[in-house]
């Protein structure tokens, strides 16, 4: 077949060319046949870590957050949660009261101050929570249960309101946009409050506490 193609050319060079061409064509044919009969099969992969990398910061050690729900009662509440084990975490925070706000629970339970004691001056607060996460999922996923102690002081003209809340809290942690945290929780317990009047007798009482909290934050890994 190749003789027909090269008919009439210089015989020495022709022969070399013909042989090279024949070799190339044969190799191509053999290669093509090999490809037809051999299937490309995948292999198992021991580098499992790369398949688990989904960009989500699930191994976070800490969570720095702001209690969005506390803004309603006028507190700018910043909290930090530290993972202790796969099940336990401790959360501590401090708050500064920027406005009088509206503490819904106080409105419901009628802890209000008559004139002229209702001019807001300042306030602060702090709290600590011990959390237990089910399913060894601290601190980024699944639900948790825990106990919280929270103190809040609000200063008004002529009166200082001090509130100590001790409650059992259950909540859920969410991880979104790779490192952002959301913490939705509800608490039930007792509220011990005390009103220190400048010109009158102090008042104190024990009440019921129920609260719903939402915190947004950022997961920290170190």
């Amino acid at each position: 077949m190749f003789h027909f193609l090269y008919f009439g050319c210089n015989s020495k060079i022709d022969m070399k060319h013909v042989l090279t061409l024949t070799f190339v064509i044969l190799s191509v044919i053999v290669f093509a046949q090999d490809e037809e009969t051999t299937r490309e099969l995948p292999e198992v992969d021991e580098n499992f870590q790369k398949y688990l990398d989904d960009g989500l910061n699930t191994g976070a050690n800490g969570d720095l957050k702001i209690a969005v729900s506390a803004l309603v009662s006028g507190f700018l509440d910043v909290q930090y949660e530290q993972k202790i084990t796969d099940n336990f975490a401790i959360q501590a925070g401090g708050a500064f009261q920027v406005s009088e706000g509206n503490d819904l629970l106080n409105t419901i339970t009628d802890v209000t101050y008559e004139e002229p004691y209702d001019i807001f001056k300042s306030g602060f607060g702090y709290g600590v929570t011990a959390k237990y996460y089910a399913g060894e999922s601290a601190i980024t996923n699944l639900g948790y249960g825990g106990f919280t102690f929270r103190h809040r002081t609000s200063k008004y003209e002529g009166v200082t309101l001090k509130q100590n809340d001790i409650y059992y809290t259950t909540g859920l942690k969410y991880l979104f946009m790779n490192s952002l945290s959301a913490d939705l929780s509800s608490g039930i317990g007792v509220r011990i409050y005390n009103m220190d009047y400048a010109n009158a007798q102090n008042e104190g009482n024990l009440g019921f506490y129920y609260g719903l909290e939402l915190k947004l934050g950022y997961y920290i890994k170190y």
Partner: protein, 569 residues
């Protein structure tokens, strides 16, 4: 002399009665309080004793708002020969701070392998990993290896999530992973005003179904694989599902699917046909596709003139493919089982080597078919009333009633199929149905409480065996009811020394080679009368046949678990 004869007769009767009963030893371990109290599986230890896998659901949240996040956690326990608990450990499924979910634990080449999966949201994939499981130290041995992957389905309610099925070939040399890609739920086509606009037979055509599979050899090398393999079936409807798949001794994969063509009749079509049915089952066939390691494939379908209810794939020692199935007839809108079928195919080209089929024997149906049983027990008066009632039936209703008498009602699935040492195929059917009882009661304050109770019935057995071209059949009458909790597995079967050993929740049944002699034993362990100190009540949801003579079954009450060990002597 008379006395002697009576004694002799009594002795003979007792001996005969004794022969029809199996000798069984029922023992149990001590009651233990476990952290994981949902029994998932139990395995035998090579050094004696057993180990089990259990689970429980953990989580928390705000119950009042219905916001709960739950997670299944797993535990492993080791037991001695007498099923007394030695130790319990939590199984760690957390790698690289990621929670993996347990897919299954598979025994392959004398080792146990744990398969875990992970949904990677970023890569939109579900990955499957395996690792060796040290069943002595009860922990994962070494690192994970990624073996398979499928697309990650959306969390939307209108899609089915993707799943993996993992099984070992019958010669235990290959492991097959079948990946079912997530699928969108098809919306039912409806006409204006939501009615049926047209017959669905117009959907019949050539349909393509996609499957992904991996076949691994004993060194965990992939020897056969195809991603989204196209299975094209002519004259098919979109009502196709994979019933079974298997790997033969050379690593070729067999996919057995059911293809049903059902005419959904419109009101006018129903009136024109003068039928009381809304559906007309035109075809119910099984399609078998073999895919060789080199990628070539062959496809066959079961005979079109038969309506097949269920089918299984089995391989005999010569490597032949055995399709054993149930044939049926349409009664109203359903198919009911009326016979058994076996087709032997050559492995090279799937050409039929032989086939055999049989309707259920009249003496089997007399004892098992509920309609025949009811009619046999009717009084003369009731029978007369029945005859009068039957006269009023339409021709179609009469045909359906006659077909129902020929059928194994409530037995539409093969409970077990297998081949014995001689290559004879065995099919076991079990009558199963659920009865839902709703009761309402009003207390003195006028509050009404409605309670719904589910009674899961596991009744009579039908046994069929194909000895060459002949079919032998027999039955076993039994009744077992599980209240509110369905059994994970209602029966196990082992074939040894040409005998068929059937272990059910309440009975052990042994049939001989040609199913003529049946011996049984009613288990006391599952009876409520068999009280155990330390356990207020006993609930059985799991049972496993460890070998042809040993069954393990845990009795549970809340966190307390006590294992029964039942041994056939």
């Amino acid at each position: 002399m008379k006395k002697l004869l009576i004694i002799l007769f009594t002795a003979l009767a007792v001996t005969a009665l004794g022969q029809s009963k199996l000798k069984v030893n029922e023992s149990h371990g001590e009651v233990a309080k476990l952290n994981g109290y949902n029994v998932e599986d139990v395995f035998a230890l090579s050094t004696g004793g057993y180990w089990s896998l259990t689970s429980r659901v953990e989580g928390s949240g705000i119950a009042g708002l219905g916001l709960m996040k739950m997670k299944r956690v797993y535990f492993v326990q080791s037991y001695n020969e007498d099923m007394n608990l030695i130790s319990e450990k939590k199984l760690n499924l957390r790698f690289e701070h990621k929670d993996l979910s347990l897919e299954s634990i598979v025994q392959f080449q004398n080792d146990f392998y744990i398969f875990l999966k992970f949904d990677n949201i970023e890569k939109k994939k579900t990955y499957l990993f395996y690792a060796l499981f040290d069943h002595h130290d009860l922990m994962i041995d070494g690192d994970l290896t990624k073996v398979a992957e499928i697309k990650l389905g959306s969390k939307a309610t209108n899609s089915y999530p993707g799943t993996f099925d993992i099984s070992v070939s019958e010669n235990e040399e290959f492991l097959v992973i079948f990946g079912n890609e997530p699928q969108k739920r098809e919306r039912r086509k409806r006409g204006l005003f939501g009615g049926r606009s047209s017959s669905s037979s117009s959907d019949v055509g050539t349909h393509t179904f996609k499957f992904t599979y991996w076949v691994l050899n004993e060194d965990f090398q992939i020897v056969n694989y195809e991603i989204k393999h196209d299975l094209k079936i002519e004259n098919s409807s979109d009502k196709f599902y994979v019933r079974d798949y298997a790997v033969d001794n050379v690593g070729a994969i067999y996919i057995l699917g059911k293809n049903k063509v059902v005419d959904e009749l419109t009101r006018s079509e129903k009136r024109a046909k003068q039928t009381s049915n809304w559906v007309d089952i035109k075809k119910s066939a099984f399609v078998l596709e073999k895919i060789n390691s080199d990628g070539s494939s062959s496809l066959i379908a079961t005979p079109q003139d038969e309506l097949f209810v269920d089918m299984d794939i089995l391989f005999d020692k010569a490597g032949n493919v055995n399709l054993v199935g149930l044939t049926g007839e349409q009664i109203y809108s359903k198919l009911v089982t009326t016979g058994v079928y076996r087709m032997v195919l050559a492995p090279e080209n799937l050409e039929m080597v032989s086939n055999a089929n049989s309707e259920f024997f009249p003496d089997v149906l007399e004892n098992v078919n509920d309609i025949q049983e009811r009619e046999a027990n009717q009084s003369k008066r009731r029978r007369k009333r029945q005859v009068r009632k039957d006269r009023k039936l339409t021709k179609e209703q009469k045909e359906f009633k006659e077909a129902a008498k020929r059928a194994a009602l409530n037995a539409n699935f093969i409970a077990y199929s297998g081949l014995d040492e001689n290559g004879d195929a065995v099919i076991i059917l079990e009558e199963r149905h659920v009865r839902v009882v709703t009761t309402s009661s009003t207390d003195a304050n006028g509050y009404t409480t409605t309670t719904t109770t589910y009674y899961y019935h596991y009744d009579d057995l039908i046994m069929a065996k194909f000895i060459d071209d002949e079919v032998v059949q027999n039955y076993y009458k039994k009744s077992f009811v599980s209240v509110n909790v369905p059994l994970v597995k209602s029966l196990d079967v082992s074939l040894k020394n040409s005998n068929i050993n059937i272990m059910t929740q309440g009975h052990i049944v042994r049939a001989d080679y040609d199913l003529q002699t049946i011996k049984d034993y009613e288990l006391k362990a599952f009876s409520r009368k068999d009280k155990v100190p330390g356990m207020r009540r006993k609930v059985f949801t799991y049972r496993k046949t460890m070998d042809e003579n040993t069954i393990l079954a845990p009795a549970q009450w809340r966190r307390k678990v006590m294992w029964y060990k039942i041994q056939i002597k």
